[in-house]
C-alpha cells in the first residue's frame, strides 16, 4: 500500500508526460508548418514538378536536382555524427558523454527518416520510384549503396541500437503508474536488469557499435560517390568528394548534437549531468573536424583558381565571384569563424555553452550552403555541351516542403522526449518502490 501511494505521488522523471505551455506552443507551430508543407506537397503532386523551381539541365537551362537533394545530402550528413558519437561512447567507454548518447542516437534515426522523405518529395512519381528502387537498383551505382546501406541498413541498425539501449530505462519507466506503461512494458520486453542481461547488452552494444562505424563510413562515402564519380560533370568529379562528405557530415552532425544537448539540458533542468565538460568534449571534436574541412576547402579553392580548364573556370567563377558567391563566402565565414572561436576556447580551456550552441547553428547553416553548392552549380554552370548558363531558384513549394520536413523532425524529437527520458535514468529515478 505504501509502495502504491509513493508510486502514485512520484511523477514520471525528466519532464516525461508533462506538456508545458512552451511545449504546446512549439507543438502548435510545428504542426502549422507541417500542415502548410503537406499542402505545398499536394500542389507539387497534383501539378507536377513544374510547381518547383527545378528544370531540365541544359535544354531548359535549369537544375534537375535542387533544394530537395541538397537536404537529402544534408540530413544524411547530420545522421552521421549521432550514431558515431553513440558508438564511440560505447567502444571507448566514455562515461562522461553517456548522458547525450540517447539524444545522439535519436538524432541519427530522425535525420535518416528526414533524408528518406527528402528523396521521396524529389520524385515526381514517388511510388514508382520506391518500387523500382527495390526492383532494379544496381550495385554499380552509388545510389544502391545510399539506398541499401544508408536508408535501409544504417537506419535499421540505428533503430536496433536505440531500442536495445532504452530497454533498461523502459523497464524502470514501466514501474511508474502512467498511461504509457503498456508502451514501456512493450519496449522493455521482459527486461529485468539481471547480471546476465546486463552482460548481454554490454556485448551486443559493443559489437553493434563496431559494426555500425565501418557501415556508416562506407555509406557516407557512397553518397559522396553519387557526385564524385560523375566524370561528365565539372565540379562533381573528384577524389576529395567522399572524404569531404564524411567530414562535413561530422561537422553538421556534431553541431546538431551540441544544440540538442543544450535544449535537453534546459528542458530537463540537469546542468550537472550535461555539464560543461560534455560541451567541451563536443566542442573539441567539432573544432578538429572543422579545421580538417577548412583544409579541404582551401585545397579546393586553390585547385579551382589554378589553371583550370574552361568549363571548370566558368563554374569556379560562378562560385567565387558570380551568382553563387554569396552562398560560397557566407558558408566560408560561417565555418571559419566558429573554427577560430572553438580554437580560442580550446586554447584558453574556457568553454561557453551559448557560444558553442551559436557555433553549432552556424556550421549547420554553412553545411546547408555547402551542400547546395555541391548539388546545384555544376548543373547550371557545368555542362560540357554548348548550352547557355542556367539558373535555379527554389519555388515557394520547395521552401514550404523543406520547412515541413524540419518541423516533422522537431516534432519527432519533441514527442519522443515527452514519452521517453532524454537522459539515462539515475538510480533514484529508476527506483519507484519504497
Amino acid at each position: 500500500m505504501a509502495t502504491e501511494t509513493l508510486a502514485t505521488r512520484k511523477p514520471l522523471p525528466q519532464e516525461v508526460g508533462r506538456f508545458t505551455s512552451g511545449w504546446r506552443l512549439f507543438f502548435a507551430a510545428s504542426v502549422v508548418v507541417l500542415g502548410f508543407g503537406i499542402y505545398a506537397l499536394s500542389r507539387e503532386l497534383s501539378t507536377g514538378m513544374v510547381a518547383t523551381g527545378m528544370r531540365n539541365v541544359g535544354t531548359m537551362g535549369g537544375a534537375s536536382w535542387g533544394l530537395y537533394i541538397t537536404m537529402v545530402v544534408y540530413f544524411i550528413g547530420v545522421s552521421f555524427a549521432g550514431i558515431t558519437v553513440a558508438a564511440v561512447i560505447r567502444i571507448f567507454n566514455l562515461t562522461k558523454l553517456r548522458p547525450i548518447a540517447r539524444s545522439a542516437e535519436l538524432l541519427t534515426v530522425v535525420a535518416l527518416i528526414l533524408g528518406a522523405l527528402a528523396i521521396i518529395v524529389d520524385l515526381g512519381q514517388p511510388l514508382r520510384g520506391i518500387i523500382n528502387l527495390f526492383k532494379y537498383a544496381r550495385p554499380q551505382s552509388p545510389f544502391f549503396g545510399t539506398f541499401s546501406l544508408v536508408i535501409a541498413g544504417y537506419l535499421f541498425a540505428s533503430l536496433v541500437y536505440l531500442y536495445l539501449g532504452g530497454r533498461h530505462d523502459a523497464a524502470a519507466m514501466a514501474r511508474y503508474p502512467s498511461r504509457l506503461s503498456a508502451f514501456y512494458r512493450g519496449w522493455a520486453a521482459g527486461y529485468r536488469d539481471t547480471p546476465g542481461e546486463q552482460e548481454r547488452h554490454s556485448r551486443t552494444s559493443f559489437w553493434l557499435a563496431l559494426a555500425i562505424i565501418p557501415l556508416l563510413v562506407i555509406a557516407h562515402s557512397t553518397l559522396g560517390f553519387v557526385f564524385g564519380l560523375q566524370v561528365g560533370r565539372p565540379g562533381w568529379y573528384g577524389t576529395l568528394q567522399a572524404p569531404a562528405f564524411v567530414v562535413l557530415a561530422g561537422v553538421s552532425g556534431i553541431g546538431h548534437i551540441i544544440v540538442l544537448a543544450a535544449v535537453v539540458r534546459k528542458v530537463v533542468h540537469d546542468k550537472q549531468r550535461i555539464g560543461t565538460e560534455v560541451f567541451a568534449w563536443l566542442g573539441k571534436l567539432l573544432m578538429v573536424l572543422l579545421w580538417v574541412y577548412v583544409y579541404f576547402m582551401t585545397v579546393e579553392l586553390l585547385t579551382l583558381l589554378y589553371a583550370t580548364p574552361e568549363v571548370e573556370k566558368q563554374l569556379s567563377d560562378a562560385l567565387i565571384f558570380g551568382s553563387y558567391a554569396w552562398i560560397y563566402w557566407g558558408s566560408v565565414v560561417l565555418l571559419v569563424i566558429p573554427a577560430l572561436i572553438l580554437a580560442w576556447q580550446a586554447l584558453t580551456r574556457r568553454w561557453n555553452v551559448g557560444v558553442l550552441v551559436a557555433s553549432g547553428l552556424a556550421v549547420n547553416l554553412a553545411a546547408i550552403g555547402k551542400r547546395y553548392l555541391i548539388v546545384v552549380p555544376s548543373q547550371t554552370h557545368g555542362t560540357l555541351l554548348p548550352y547557355e548558363v542556367g539558373t535555379y531558384s527554389p519555388s515557394w513549394v520547395e521552401y514550404a516542403v523543406v520547412a515541413a520536413i524540419f518541423a516533422l523532425g522537431a516534432l519527432m524529437i519533441g514527442l519522443f522526449f515527452k514519452a521517453f527520458p532524454a537522459l539515462p535514468l539515475t538510480e533514484e529515478e529508476a527506483t519507484v518502490d519504497a
Binding site: L133, F134, K135, Y136, A137, R138, P139, Q140, F144, F147, S148, L149, A152, G153, F156, A157, V160, Y163, L164, R167, A189, G190, T194, G196, E197, R200, H201, R203, T204, W207, L208, A211
Partner: protein
C-alpha cells in the same frame, strides 16, 4: 542455443546479401541491354540480408533465458 541462433541469423543475412548483390549486379552480362537484375527484387534481397544480420542483435538480447531446473 542463443549463440547458435544469433550466429545463424548473421550467416543467413550475409548469404542473402551475397545473393542479393550478385543477383542485382549484372557481372558478366554480355551487353548493357541485359543489365537488369538476374531475378526480380534482387536489391530487396540484399536489403533483407542487412536487416536480418542486424536483427541478430535483437534475438541475442530478447531471447528469454532457459528456465532454471
Amino acid at each position: 542455443m542463443r549463440r547458435t541462433i544469433t550466429g545463424a541469423m548473421i550467416g543467413l543475412g550475409l548469404i542473402l546479401m551475397v545473393i542479393g548483390y550478385f543477383g542485382a549486379a549484372p557481372w558478366g552480362a554480355d551487353s548493357v541491354a541485359n543489365s537488369d537484375p538476374r531475378f526480380g527484387f534482387a536489391p530487396t534481397v540484399f536489403v533483407l540480408g542487412v536487416i536480418v544480420s542486424f536483427s541478430a542483435a535483437l534475438v541475442y538480447e530478447l531471447l528469454p533465458d532457459r528456465p532454471e531446473r
